[in-house]
């Protein structure tokens, strides 16, 4: 059997020695679909995602991307691994002064040589892929607009397109809808679900909204205080589990 796209074993992260934020996470993500990670703020969901592409350095444990341990990589090997992992951010993290197309091409910076990036001489294939993705996210005429001229929903669509430009093997989405209004949030998640399914990319999605998580994910992982307290399909998630994840019950 081939190695799963993502396999995490015994992951521990301590920002301050002795006070772990993640206390030994074990998680394997299959080849398809959305795995939603839910849990209260400050429980380490963002840290978990950022450990995977090493924006945050894990303290202990293994993170394997198709069998390759990411935690030991340095320099060029780390960059080559990062380009296989797309990421969508809560606040879009676009380069506001650059055009939409330039932002998309940021997703190719791990692939093209520096001089090509500097002179904007990308391979024609990348440019075509960029236009195709703009079409797919519903912004076909926006290639030359500056990113700071877009609305929140449009920016997140560009954020998704940028991540897919990498042709990633795994996509991490860190609260991608928390800065959006409820309607736009659903539209953006629908887009994310559809495009990643078409591309066959598994997604790890951090999300606050339990209803949206149940609606779009095929698997829910509930975290509380740095450990996984629930792992199963959305149908299995019950009030008792939510109580264990978030604590209390007055809000239910």
């Amino acid at each position: 059997m081939a190695a799963p796209p993502l396999e995490i074993r015994g992951l521990v992260k301590e920002y301050v020695p002795g006070t772990p934020v993640l206390r030994g996470i074990d998680l394997a993500v299959g080849a398809e679909g959305i795995t939603a990670v839910i849990g209260p703020s400050g429980t380490g969901k963002s840290t978990l995602l950022r450990c995977i592409n090493r924006l945050v350095e894990p303290t202990r444990g293994e993170i394997r991307l198709r069998g390759e341990d990411l935690t030991r990589l340095r320099g060029k090997a780390l960059r080559l691994a990062r380009r296989r992992i797309g990421m969508v951010f809560q606040e879009y993290n676009l380069v506001e002064r650059l055009s939409v197309m330039e932002n998309l091409l940021c997703g190719r910076l791990g692939y093209v040589p520096l001089w090509r990036a500097w002179l904007r001489r990308y391979p024609a294939e990348d440019i075509e892929h960029g236009f195709a993705l703009l079409e797919a996210v519903g912004l076909p005429d926006y290639a030359t607009r500056r990113a700071d001229a877009l609305s929140g929903g449009q920016r997140q669509r560009v954020g998704i397109a940028r991540a897919l430009m990498q042709r990633p093997e795994l996509l991490l989405a860190d609260e991608p809808t928390s800065s959006l209004d409820p309607k736009t949030a659903v539209e953006v998640l629908e887009l994310l679900a559809r495009l990643t399914e078409e591309a066959g990319v598994p997604v790890v999605l951090n999300i606050h909204n339990v209803e949206l998580a149940k609606r779009f994910a095929r698997r829910i992982v509930g975290m509380s205080e740095g450990t996984i307290v629930f792992d199963g399909p959305p149908e299995a998630l019950e009030t008792a589990h939510l109580r264990a994840i978030y604590g209390g019950e007055d809000w239910l």
Binding site: R79, R82, R84, N93, L94, E96, L109, L114, W118, A163
Partner: protein, 265 residues
């Protein structure tokens, strides 16, 4: 009941009185009154001074443009010093500013680079010009070198400060896509500061134009040398011609850089 309580209380003050400021102003006035007689400033001295100024001004008109070749030669040299110094200074400031930014370079790089920039800023450019004249001899080279130092001190420092204020979010995203250090710099960092950097450069070019007219006085090339010679020979009509030419050049430069700045916005 509460209404009567309010009426009994002292009237509320909407603004806090600043006694520190008031005392400071008082001290300033008192020190000024003390310092004026100390320096021998009096109405009589002022009257003598104004008389001299009148005679001096009278000898400045009409301005004498008969030696215009000398004037143009000096002006062109000043202009060249300013442009050359700005170009070299900008080229040096770009990497130095990046290396001095505390959010981009590790402390063992940014600390020494900040030190170099601080040294560039600490000496007045005329003093630097004198040092270079002594070190590498009279002429435009010393002037260019002095203004390069001044340009680096200004542009690199402000550029580093602008870099320290950038949003790290795009940087994070571009790094997460697997981009190398230089690609992150080109795509996520520089676009955020490019327009400010151009603004600093234009401002410094203005400053260099002004300053290049002065370095000649200490023998570092340009119109300043001509001006100083005219002063020494009491050719005040030629002095006024030189001053008018300098003012015209600076005005022209302000006009051009203003246009460029407006176009960039």
């Amino acid at each position: 009941m509460s209404a009567s309580g309010h009426a009994a209380a002292a009237p509320r003050r909407p603004f806090a009185p600043s006694w520190g400021f008031r005392l400071g102003m008082l001290a300033l006035v008192a020190y000024t009154a003390y310092a004026v007689p100390q320096l021998g400033l009096s109405w009589e001295r002022l009257a003598v001074g104004f008389g001299e100024a009148g005679r001096f001004l009278a000898r400045m008109v009409p301005p004498n443009f008969t030696r215009w070749e000398l004037l143009v030669e000096g002006l062109v040299e000043s202009l060249q010093i300013a442009v050359l110094a700005s170009a070299i200074g900008i080229a040096l400031s770009l990497p130095l500013g990046v290396l001095a930014a505390r959010n981009l370079a590790p402390w063992w790089i940014n600390a020494p680079v900040r030190g170099v920039i601080a040294i560039c800023r600490s000496l007045h450019y005329v003093i630097v010009a004198i040092l270079f004249v002594k070190a590498i001899g009279f002429g435009a080279l010393a002037g260019v070198a002095a203004l390069v130092v001044a340009s680096v001190g200004f542009i690199a420092k402000l550029f580093a400060e602008a870099l320290e204020e950038i949003s790290m979010k795009p940087v994070e995203a571009v790094r997460a896509a697997g981009a190398g250090t230089m690609a992150v710099l080109i795509y996520a960092v520089l676009p955020q500061v490019a327009s400010r950097f151009v603004g600093f450069c234009l401002y410094q070019l203005d400053s260099n134009l002004r300053n290049s007219t002065l370095v000649g006085i200490v023998g570092a090339g340009g119109i300043g040398g001509t001006l100083f010679a005219a002063f020494k020979r009491f050719d005040y009509d030629f002095v006024s011609a030189i001053l008018i030419a300098i003012i015209a050049m600076i005005f022209l430069a302000e006009l051009v850089s203003g246009r460029v700045r407006a176009a960039l916005r």
